[in-house]
Symmetry: C2
Subunit: 273 residues, 2 copies
């Protein structure tokens, strides 16, 4: 999906919500466990319930890989289902990959280059530690996106991302250097919502890029702050919520609850756009 | 596998060779393509041929994931085959994972915590960018190892790993800080062979840890240098070779050629130990 198509989608849905499909089988509503593939049934119901309010879906691969071959089947069915809505949503594989060039080429192929295009994602999250040649292979696919970790929302972000070098923090160097590897048409950044005020500084370095912001709950606590400091002329934000939406209820009514949580976030986003 | 068991294995085999199972299906000997699972047949033959000279095997997950569900089947069969040799080899999932704590917990479970223990690895490679809580969940499994990226062998290592902060390079900070998260009994580091001379400085920071060293070919070019600067009292090295061994020939005799390449490296290692 091209940047202008993503922007049009945001305007049409009046939303910049990303729903994280962190579909932990241990947390699914009990009645789904009777299905052959409970995780896929869950994802399908969540997607159907939230699609009007949601511009992007982000399966977190750990929740699928940890279930081995069966989990990879659930993931495959999920991306194939998402791809039944062309132009209506943006898909992100939250994989946090990153390896030497030749290996990254294979990861890029896994997510972007399947001959069966129904298995391809629009974007993949990538770790920056190994530098340019670990990132470059992902940028060779037209209309596909890399979402590079810059400033993450976890405590461990302090350990290395916030260290100073030559008067700037390491994550700022990541933004600056990687800004020369790709463009705002094929690269986004992960920036944690716990650091909303830092978005002002980040916007000085990457004014035009989309930022994927995790760590915002349904309560919308910091959503206004994130929007205040992070929005740009082309929206430039995808705000992710996972558990607060998909596990809003674990009863038979889980999809309705997910819908109302997503709807509540969309309403706030509509006023912020 | 405990550190002292690994050391005993090295002494017994007079080798610190790790064979990388970067089993690219496009590069396999043609006659294997008639099998149901060519990649597994290839890996099995390589393992059988090289096991006398090899202490560790390292499947690179990209080569399996890029083939989707079929690739994950090959990987599962490979680790299950490797686990038929208890105490005779050390297994490494080269996955370069790293995510927030809750997600890393699931990755750790994928590699270390399967109820069916035949699917578990001894070690997994992890990226340090997200800091302590992304690493900690892997350290909760007794007898299991994290292999943290420190100084990688690719060109992109220059971009961030070699930046200076507070008088030290970023990869040195990775070694120092992470040294407090785990011990030399459950943590190793990836250090590229292209940087053999830097091993002197690295050994000052982590004198007791094992280092996993990629980037050494069968020609043994830099093997002596790596040993000179990297060996410690408990060996402390696993030197990886992938393509130079597994793709030494792509004819019917691929396993014999792999055996002789691995044997040649073992012979050099024997004199270095």
């Amino acid at each position: 999906m091209l940047k202008e198509e993503l922007y049009k989608l945001i305007i049409k849905k009046k939303s910049f919500l990303c729903v994280g499909l962190d579909s932990d089988i241990a947390k699914l509503p009990k009645h789904l466990l009777d299905f052959d593939d409970p995780v896929f049934e869950f994802n399908k119901a969540i997607i159907d319930a939230t699609i009007d309010y949601t511009v992007a879906y982000k399966p977190n691969l750990a929740f699928y890989e940890s279930r081995g071959v069966a989990g990879m089947q659930s993931l495959k069915k999920t991306i194939q289902y998402l791809n039944k809505f062309p132009g209506q949503l943006f898909t992100i594989a939250d994989a946090k990959r990153g390896d030497i060039g030749n290996t990254s080429k294979l990861y890029a192929k896994s997510f972007f280059g399947n001959e069966d295009v129904s298995k391809n994602f629009d974007a993949v999250t990538v770790a920056p530690y190994m530098g340019e040649d670990s990132v470059a292979p992902f940028l060779e696919y037209k209309g596909k996106w890399i979402i590079l970790l810059a400033l993450t929302s976890n405590k461990g972000a302090e350990n290395f991302q916030l260290m100073e070098s030559e008067g700037k923090k390491i994550f700022e160097h990541v933004l600056e250097k990687s800004g020369k590897w790709g463009t705002s048409e094929n690269m986004m950044y992960v920036v944690g919502a716990t650091q909303a005020r830092m978005l002002t500084e980040i916007r000085k370095i990457v004014p035009d890029h989309f930022l994927l912001v995790p760590g915002v709950g349904a309560q919308g606590g910091s959503l206004e702050e994130v929007a205040k400091y992070g929005l740009n002329d082309g929206c430039g934000l995808l705000v992710n919520a996972s558990r607060s939406i998909i596990f809003a209820s674990n009863g038979n009514d889980f999809a309705e609850h997910a819908k109302s949580e997503a709807g509540a976030m969309q309403k706030i986003m509509q006023t912020l756009l």
